[in-house]
């Protein structure tokens, strides 16, 4: 929330901000780069989950946070949300809403990772897919990476200039 507030404040013209940062935040090219970067990352991220939904379902189970009846539905649905939103960002179709969805997923993922880090729950071991045990995802690294993606998503969400190469632009946001 602090990050969100900081970015919102940064977008307000009456608040002094380093002119280089202001220029970067207002740059259409920077917005395009971030939007394409996030889009491609999410298209790539969806690929393996779509190809192997059963393995993805087991990974969701491994988080030990969700009731059983949700796991398969999430494994079917979430990879396609990533794919559609990733494509929407690359093509410039409703970029603000696509970013909102992506950041919603990132936020949920950050919470899930944090909960498991705090309670020391190990998850995503190799026994779920390749017959190996003892493999644990580096949750700390994942957390940092997702917070960076989340911040990039905020830049796309709050960007209020002219977006480049958009098929269907989102309207302007009152900040």
């Amino acid at each position: 929330m602090y990050l969100l507030t900081a970015i919102r404040l940064g977008k307000r013209r009456d608040i002094p901000l380093n002119k280089h940062i202001r220029k970067l935040l207002d740059s259409s090219w920077a917005e395009l780069t971030v939007r394409w970067f996030l889009g491609i990352i999410f298209i790539y991220a969806s690929y393996h989950k779509i190809i192997e939904p059963a393995i993805f379902a087991k990974i969701i189970y491994g988080y030990d946070l969700f009731p059983g009846f949700v796991i398969n539905l999430a494994a079917i649905f979430l990879p396609f949300v990533e794919l559609i939103c990733g494509c929407a960002l690359v093509l410039g179709i409703y970029p603000r809403s696509a970013t909102l969805i992506i950041n919603g997923m990132l936020f949920a993922f950050i919470i899930a990772l944090s909960v498991n880090l705090i309670r020391g729950h190990e998850f995503d071991c190799g026994c779920f897919s390749f017959g190996e045990t003892g493999h644990v995802s580096p949750a700390g690294q994942l957390l940092v990476r997702d917070i960076i993606y989340f911040a990039l998503g905020l830049q796309v969400f709050f960007f209020n200039g002219q977006r480049k190469w958009c098929i269907i632009k989102s309207g302007f946001l009152k900040i």
Binding site: A54, I76, F80, V81, C85, T133, Q162, F172
Partner: protein, 196 residues
């Protein structure tokens, strides 16, 4: 000669930017994104994802059921995919039952985990057949153990379906008497049964 007479006034680079800026500012007032618009966009994006997702899953050869089996008290967990390897009828759900079968000496115990994990500890007398490398050793295995051999596969517990997958490979090769000890090495070790 007055060639330039009648031409529109020349618009410089900075003036073009100003024109664009004005248009941008004009849009700010005419095209404000409302919550209603955003909701509409979210519904469209999520709706497309739902429709494509469930359709693709239905037709995909690797598609999964809408609801899986994630309760370990009922056996090995499974997403119930179209390629599902979990067969409940093969499962030995009690550790003492597995021990009784072990004591008869009629069954060959196969460890479906990786060789490194097998080396760290295994059921005494178990043979390592990592599920990922089954077809590398299949010929040698069939030569050594006749198709009539009674086999019990295991891996690391009820969250692991490698033992079931190995059982299916063995069925494909022609073995007929196969069981899956679903609690695997951790439960065997916890009971204090023979390990090495």
């Amino acid at each position: 000669m007055t060639g330039r007479v009648g031409h529109p006034p020349y618009i410089g680079h900075s003036q073009v930017s100003e024109v664009r800026l004005e248009r941008s500012q004009m849009n700010r007032f005419t095209d404000i994104m409302s919550y209603k618009n955003m909701t509409k966009e979210l519904v469209i994006l999520l709706g497309i994802a739902i429709v494509i997702g469930f359709t693709a899953n239905y037709f995909s050869p690797k598609g999964i059921a809408l609801f899986g089996e994630w309760d370990t008290s009922k056996g090995v967990i499974t997403a119930k995919s179209k390629e599902d390897v979990v067969v409940r009828e093969l499962e030995i759900t009690d550790v003492p039952v597995a021990k009784k079968m072990y004591d008869t000496g009629k069954y060959l115990f196969l460890d479906a985990r990786s060789y490194e994990v097998y080396e760290e500890g295994r059921i005494k007398g178990a043979v390592s057949v990592p599920v990922g490398g089954f077809y590398d050793v299949a010929d040698t295995f069939i030569e050594k153990y006749p198709l009539s051999t009674g086999i019990i596969t295991y891996c690391s517990g009820r969250e692991c379906d490698d033992s079931h997958e190995l059982a299916q490979y063995l069925f494909d090769e022609g073995y007929t008497e196969i069981h899956v000890f679903i609690d695997g090495y951790p439960a065997w070790k916890a009971e204090g049964y023979p390990i090495e």
